[in-house]
């Protein structure tokens, strides 16, 4: 009788863990990639290629779901419980926030993959109406009276933060440039912004589909995509004298993949971004590849630019975020909705 009781007790205490293991297996090979706004088309193609590759190598089907939105907003979603197996966001700060606030991945996540976990880069350019009727050539033109500028909200959009900092860096680099002058310059620029979308894709809609604004400060890939999709007779791309090296990072969300039992496939998914096949897809979607061969192959579509980095001008994302985009930061000081 006592033995029977012991066995029953042990079974009861062990059952939860047994079911926990079964639950992990039960989740199967579905992944959720939480990404930022303009990567929709990139990951549609990439997911299909990866699924084919994974099936061929492991004999296992994988279905990758996508979620897109402003990078900051997406990061908040993951912090609030959106179960992303991987995050592919616009800037490292947003993944840092997930590591710091939700502790879903370690603080040194950026060291786990090559090139600071950034398999592709991009930069910021100007998309203007065909023929560039307002004669926009550089950042200084964007702050002139009568110019209508489209850019998303830096509070919610990673791309917008790159835009903002590129403008700030431009002002700093001008003769006699300092923080005060940069602030005044960016303030003037944002006075010319009539609509603040929450993400880059929304701003594309505002500029391209709604026909609002003279210039759209855009991801290079988004600008190239707009020209390709809507025809070269409608828009021109203007490359400013100085821009910023945007390094969108990727990371496996450890706690989610361990809970769901998807770590191997999630890890392979991100590593596939660095393969020649992955890099080719990246370049086809107008992201600048890291791989030298792919970069050479697509060199024609990526003009050489004078690019600054966040680290060299702003001392890294943590500092840039605190100074400019935190509550009460320079953006809050210079921009007031409706004014």
């Amino acid at each position: 009788m006592k033995s029977l009781k012991r066995i029953l007790l042990i079974l009861i205490y062990l059952l939860p863990s047994a079911f926990g293991i079964a639950g992990g297996a039960h989740a199967g090979v579905t992944l959720l990639n939480v990404s930022y706004d303009p990567t929709r088309e990139l990951y549609q193609d990439f997911n299909a290629a990866f699924a084919k590759d994974w099936q061929a190598k492991k004999g296992e089907a994988v279905d990758v779901k996508q979620s897109h939105g402003g990078s900051g907003k997406q990061a908040r979603g993951v912090i609030d419980g959106l179960e992303a197996d991987v995050v592919t966001l616009a800037l490292a700060y947003d993944i840092d926030a997930i590591a710091e606030k939700a502790r879903l991945l370690p603080p040194d996540w950026q060291k786990r993959l090559p090139s600071n976990s950034s398999p592709y880069t991009s930069t910021i350019v100007f998309l203007v109406r065909k023929g560039n009727p307002k004669g926009i050539k550089d950042w200084s033109d964007l702050a002139k009276p009568g110019i209508s500028v489209i850019t998303p909200n830096p509070k919610t959009s990673g791309g917008a933060r790159w835009n903002y900092l590129a403008a700030w860096a431009y002002a700093l680099k001008q003769p006699g440039g300092d923080e005060a002058k940069a602030k005044e310059f960016v303030a003037r620029l944002f006075k010319n912004v009539p609509v603040l979308d929450s993400g880059a894709r929304g701003s594309t809609t505002t500029f391209v589909e709604r026909g609002i604004g003279d210039v759209f400060i855009s991801w290079e890939n988004e600008a190239l995509l707009a020209v390709r999709e809507l025809g070269k007779d409608k828009f021109d791309i203007v490359y400013p004298s100085l821009s910023i090296l945007a390094e969108p990072p990727v990371a496996v969300v450890d706690k989610v993949v361990d809970k769901r039992g998807t770590r191997p496939v999630a890890q392979a998914y991100l590593e596939y971004l660095y393969t020649p096949e992955g890099q080719d897809i990246v370049a086809k979607h107008y992201y600048r590849p890291r791989n030298a061969a792919a970069a050479a192959k697509y060199a024609a579509q990526f003009p050489k630019l004078n690019l600054i980095t966040i680290d060299e001008v702003f001392g890294g994302w943590q500092k840039a975020q605190k100074a400019h985009f935190a509550d009460g930061g320079t953006f809050d000081q210079i921009y007031q909705p409706g004014k």
């Binding site: 009788m1 009781k5 029953l8 007790l9 009861i12 059952l15 939860p16 079911f19 926990g20 639950g23 039960h26 419980g81 209508s148 009539p194 609509v195 603040l196 979308d197 929450s198 929304g202 505002t206 709604r210 026909g211 609002i212």
Partner: protein, 468 residues
Amino acid sequence: MKAPIRKSWFLLGISLIALGFSQPAAAKARRAKTVSQGPTLQEYQQRLEELEQKQKVLERNLELKEEAEKEKAKERPVVKAGSGGISIGSADGNNEIRFRGLVQGDARFYLDRDGQGAVNTFIARRVRPWIEGRFAKRWEFRIMPDFGEGKVVLQDAWINTVIFPEFKIQVGKIKTPVGLERLEGAADLHFVERGLPTQLAPNRDLGILLNGEVLEGVFQYHIGVFNGVPDGASADFDLNNSKDFVGRVYAHPFKKTSVEAAKGFGIGVSGTLGHQSGNEKDPQLPSYKTTGQQTFFKYLNDGTAAGTVVASGRRWRISPQGYWYYKGFGILGEYIVSSQNVSLGAASADIKNQAWQVAASYVIGADNSFGRIKPKKPLGWKQGGTGAFEFGARYNELKVDKDAFPTFADPTKSARKAKAWGVAFNWILNENAKFMLDFEQTRFDGGAAAGGNRKTENVILNRYQLAF
């Protein structure tokens, strides 16, 4: 006079000539001024474009504002009030608190009162305000006190962790999953009081219960460890280190088939196994009541160690059970045997008590159910609905082990057997309100002096309840 007249005509002529020359020049000047000061066509176009831009900006900002409002709306708490209570929940449905309640006002009228303590009475049978809900999608809870019958009892206090629908872990004070009618909600009963088999089934107990539903309810299972309570009893703590193991499996084998008539058929078995002991202060033994809530059996108990029967060993129960509901018809049957080793001084015995029942009912105006019956046309003064009407009948018995007498129970005060039948009429006004009227007759074997039988109990039970 002629000279001034001529002079006048001359001056008029000069003036007219001057005027004739001067008018086109002024007009030309005015035209030139207008042309030089007014907007050009190009300027008009530019203004039009600016206006268009402003209009587009306004429209887009309005569009973004609406999108932001929609996003905010997704995050706003959802407040609901309905037949299932009042709830406040997060927009994503992962968090919710429901405020619920049950009030049952009963009246018991004993016909041919037998002089054994039965008193006609109105009584607040159950008064249960409770809260239940879930947090973070997977953590469900319920806290349910009961102020009925002039007492305050904590009926339910549990946390249910939903790992999967197939696997949940429930911890706390829980209704022990043994008796079938016991598991039916107090607000959903077809008769005012549960039948005699429920007297042998444990009520609420503290423990841990693994439970789940497989294939969307085709199979249900429960397996748990509890402190262990006597038949029909609830408890908030244990007297000893021994625990009762509880198991139940129940199936609706036709639920996923196309056989409509069989979908509401369920069958299962439950049981408990443990080793319990009591003392003269708390013997850990039950007494049994009729459906009229009169005690007809109890073990000897004079409060002394020498004169009080106590639980002193193995206790087990087993209960095959089933029901079938189809449209207005419903039938429920269960059998239960409860065995407990008892002792009085040096005397000891395994006492096996048994009970069973068959209860059937037919509902007009709603589908019959093990759960809440929902009238197709709730009572409404304007709509003309009359609610639903339920007619029921049942037969139930409880037989006490003959070995209980006379060593452990007094045959002149405790009956060996209770045989009861009852009929019920329920007017289900809507999902929340119900009026119930039962007649129950219970006959006894034994329980009176000189080998006689306890007097038959005839009782009319009324209930008016509100549940939400």
